[in-house]
Symmetry: C2
Subunit: 550 residues, 2 copies
């Protein structure tokens, strides 16, 4: 007899045989499967000093040609500039490896297959990241670059140092010379204008706001853990809990600029932002475009400084939007155009991608308009230490640190509570253990929680906003197709060793005497725990004896 | 700047630096790290026709010498007869790979390092498995061999065919000639006796009992998923839900044999069984020894047939014990000695290994006598189909199959209920959908459960015994060090596609038209879902528009 693996073949309703998502090694992404286009193309960089910018939006025929090239590409391998190792990703969150980070082959392929100037952008963007970001960053997606700080770094700074701020790119990183940069203000404004960088910096009253930016995908990994095992099909980055950061942003409010244009026309309801980066949807390139409702004009900063320094290319130099209270995806980087509209942006980022569906919606039935466009984020929080899977040696109290944040307007984190037992008991974090309250920013916390119990413990945290909204209990309470907005209570499991328990102190002393390490916890103990006499006595006492006496 | 992996170093209380259990690739076990002993040894096979049996129990000095050899072995590599591929293991239970099955290096090493006749036993045992078992078996541990049937096979047969019956070995597989086999009956009996095979088979009234044997580790994987990520340190097999099987066992009751010995002496409370296989604990060999309380004498069969056929070597030929209602570990295979005692067996299998601790007990504080010796199993059940992670296409009802079992005496499965929503609604399984009630066996079930909902659904099952005991809700309700007795409600997640929903039927027709497969579910849909006009209309209707009208 021979033994082989049993695999699970399934015939889907279209009669196609598929291998069901299998619990196998994390797949590395496919190698490029098409060659570089070597014909002549009309699309190019058009503005001097604007490297990495192609004005797709203004040339629909360029977009169409690019799509045709990608649709009809020859099946021929070209080499990716990224290796799986570059995207290697130290999973601090989950004890089980879900994915090793995403190499970003799919998006690199779009750029490289089109050839021309786009060919080098993935590799160039990576070089920019290496210049601008700290080497400790965890790479979640190599291209477009998505990276988050470590848990330890997140809780060190209420104002995140620029090199540690999370990055969620959607395409390449343009390098735009501030001297040639120009901002167009148009659409449903009374007097369309253009503004140069020096004018923006010196010609208007400036404002500095402390704001947390957060990706709507933060903590996505918890939703992925609930899903079908198709982690490699989910093209969105497998963020843990650090896809957020806080900075002091300086610039001019959007309201000021709109006033400079003589205000809005009556029909205007939304204001669109254009970013110079290139973004693809179904093989079609465009610039990065989203909008915000006009009620956010006064809060929104058209920013050129981040924590007192000019923006780096990675964070949108020379100028970006910062929309406090909204997900980061609305804070457009490499901003070059502002346009007032009679409806929200119809560009795919906002209308097809950052959508929030109910649990019952999926590939089998959703339309884009069944989801709603994600703006302000709900109350959320996460434990940064201890780490999931950590063996915690303590004397009856475990120190827990983390962050809490809420989006929206005139709303903030009011209270944080930590539970050492999965949500049965909740210990409040006092005001002194919470960082300062800002209008638009997170609060960090550090608290010691009574923990008499030993063994595997489920620690969890919940925050409350000023209106007493708190977080759902379980990940699946908010599971949604596309796995956005994970704000259920963040749970970690630790192995608790309470040194104030005499029997535990004795055991650790015994281990020390025998020269045995405690960890790994499940490594069998190579020592005698009791002699036969003691064991028999315990049987006679009734400790082990199973049968009743009478 | 350069980027590297962040690793988690930790200094334990003994000052030893350890890398915290990391979410990395399943480790293959260490290669052997010591050479084969080539000195002369006294231990050997002593009984003609009893290949694979060394009478360790009768020669304490042999045990001691073997221990000294293993303790002092030279650090020198020898090659394992097992490769990770042999233990490859198709995980049908969990969407996340926990471990790829265990190669069994640790136990093979004990045998091979001692050299002499033991050297070949691991490889020989593997050959016996290949002869006796079906090729579809899932190998959970190569040596000692642990294997379970597939989920599909389990629910096909109320009486499990012998080649599909689960196997939980603790050492090698002896090959014992029935003609030379002899059973000793001694200890606290009034007249010690010996019995030959023909005499056992023909000299006493025989009895046939239909009994399910179950490993106390069945469904262990669910507990492992809760644990620290130290799956490779847990030396116990990572069973899914198929470490059980039902057979019609034929033999002579233990009561009959004890009566043949003139009955028990008054002090006797327990009866020990000796198996001819070799088992190691902390480098020390012994034969496999456990006991049962005397109240189980009448239920217990000293069996020579399994489903009407003589036992195969894998299942204990020529004679084994079968203790209905108790975990399989008490049903000793290759039985050669029965001994009445004034206390439960003090051999390590029962006194140090098959123990059930509270959640609060662990390496940091437990003594063996803090656990109790596992005998009868509590009520349990599991879903065999659909499989976890399966995309289920249905018309509003999902067919669920599985098993339910309880141990104990005068107890059986009375009711089974299935929930399509994580335990909120429970649909009963009717008597007609349950297999026959036996005194000592499982019941299989098949039921259609109303399932209007789509997307990820949490299906779960619970069974009730005749005393209305049912199962705990969550795995962690019963989590215990050594991860025995997993009987919490078995949960699976499916992706439900309800074809009776018109919007879903429409979408599948669209996919078919575009030549697109539905799976993998998360593979992005490369087609337009709505045109701009439709989308804008939905915005104007208020479906997407976020701002209130007034």
């Amino acid at each position: 007899m021979e033994y082989t693996l049993v695999s699970k073949m399934f015939t889907n309703p279209n009669g196609i045989e598929v291998l069901l998502p299998a619990p196998v090694e994390p797949k590395s992404e496919l190698l490029f499967n098409a060659g570089v286009y070597d014909g002549a193309v009309p699309f190019k960089e058009t503005n001097a000093g604007w490297h990495g910018y192609i004005p797709w939006t203004d040339h629909p025929q360029w977009k169409q040609l690019a799509k045709e090239i990608l649709d009809g590409a020859q099946q021929q391998a070209i080499e990716s500039p990224f290796k799986p190792g570059q995207a290697a990703y130290d999973d601090q969150t989950t004890k089980l490896r879900v994915t090793g980070g995403i190499v970003g082959t799919r998006f690199s392929e779009y750029f490289m297959r089109l050839g021309a100037v786009l060919y080098n952008w993935p590799a160039e963007s990576w070089e920019t990241i290496k210049k601008d970001k700290d080497r400790s960053m965890l790479h979640v997606l190599s291209f477009p670059y998505n990276g988050e700080a470590t848990k330890d770094d997140i809780v060190k700074h209420v104002i995140t140092p620029n090199p540690l701020h999370f990055v969620r790119n959607h395409g390449n990183i343009p390098i735009i010379d501030a001297n040639t940069w120009l901002l167009e203000l148009g659409g449903l404004v009374n007097q369309p204008k253009s503004i140069k960088f020096d004018q923006l910096k010196s010609g208007f009253p400036t404002k500095t706001v402390t704001a947390t930016l957060v990706c709507s995908g933060t903590r996505r990994k918890e939703q992925q853990m609930e899903a079908l095992g198709e982690f490699d099909e989910l093209i969105n980055a497998p963020w843990t809990e650090q896809a957020l950061g806080t900075a002091r942003w300086t610039g001019v409010t959007l309201k000021t600029l709109v006033d400079y244009c003589g205000g809005l026309r009556d029909e205007a309801t939304d204001i669109e932002f254009y970013g110079a980066d290139t973004y693809f949807k179904r093989n079609k390139p465009d610039n990065y475009i989203v909008s915000i409702p006009i009620r956010k004009m006064e809060d929104t900063i058209i920013a050129f400084e981040m924590n007192g320094e000019l923006l780096t290319p990675t964070h949108g130099a020379p100028v970006r939007a910062v929309v406090p209270g909204y997900i980061g995806a609305r804070s457009v980087k490499w901003l070059y155009r502002i346009k007032a509209l009679p409806h929200p942006s119809l560009a795919p980022v906002q209308s097809e991608e950052y959508l929030y569906f109910t649990h019952q919606m999926g590939k089998h039935n959703f339309r884009w308009s069944d989801g709603f466009q994600i703006g302000g984020m709900p109350i959320s929080s996460a434990i940064m230490s201890p780490k999931n899977g950590e063996v915690v040696y303590h004397n009856g109290k475990v120190k827990v640190t983390g962050w809490a944040y809420t989006g929206g307007t005139s709303n903030w984190v009011e209270r944080v509570e930590v539970s050492p037992n999965g949500g049965s008991d909740w210990y409040p974090v006092s005001t002194a253990q919470l960082s300062q309250k800002f209008w638009w920013a997170w609060r960090l916390f550090a608290v010691e929680v009574p923990t008499p119990a030993q063994g595997y413990l489920d620690f969890t945290v919940r925050a409350w906003d000023g209106n007493m909204n708190t977080q759902p209990t379980l990940v699946r309470d908010g599971w949604n197709w596309d796995t956005h907005v994970t704000n259920s209570c963040h749970h970690i499991q630790i192995y608790s060793v309470n040194l104030s328990d005499p029997q535990t102190a004795l055991r650790l002393a015994q281990l020390h005497k025998h020269g045995l390490a405690f960890e790994p916890v499940h490594k069998p103990l190579e020592m005698e725990l009791e002699d036969e006499v003691e064991y028999l006595n315990r049987i006679r006492e009734g400790s082990i004896r199973r049968d009743p006496v009478e």
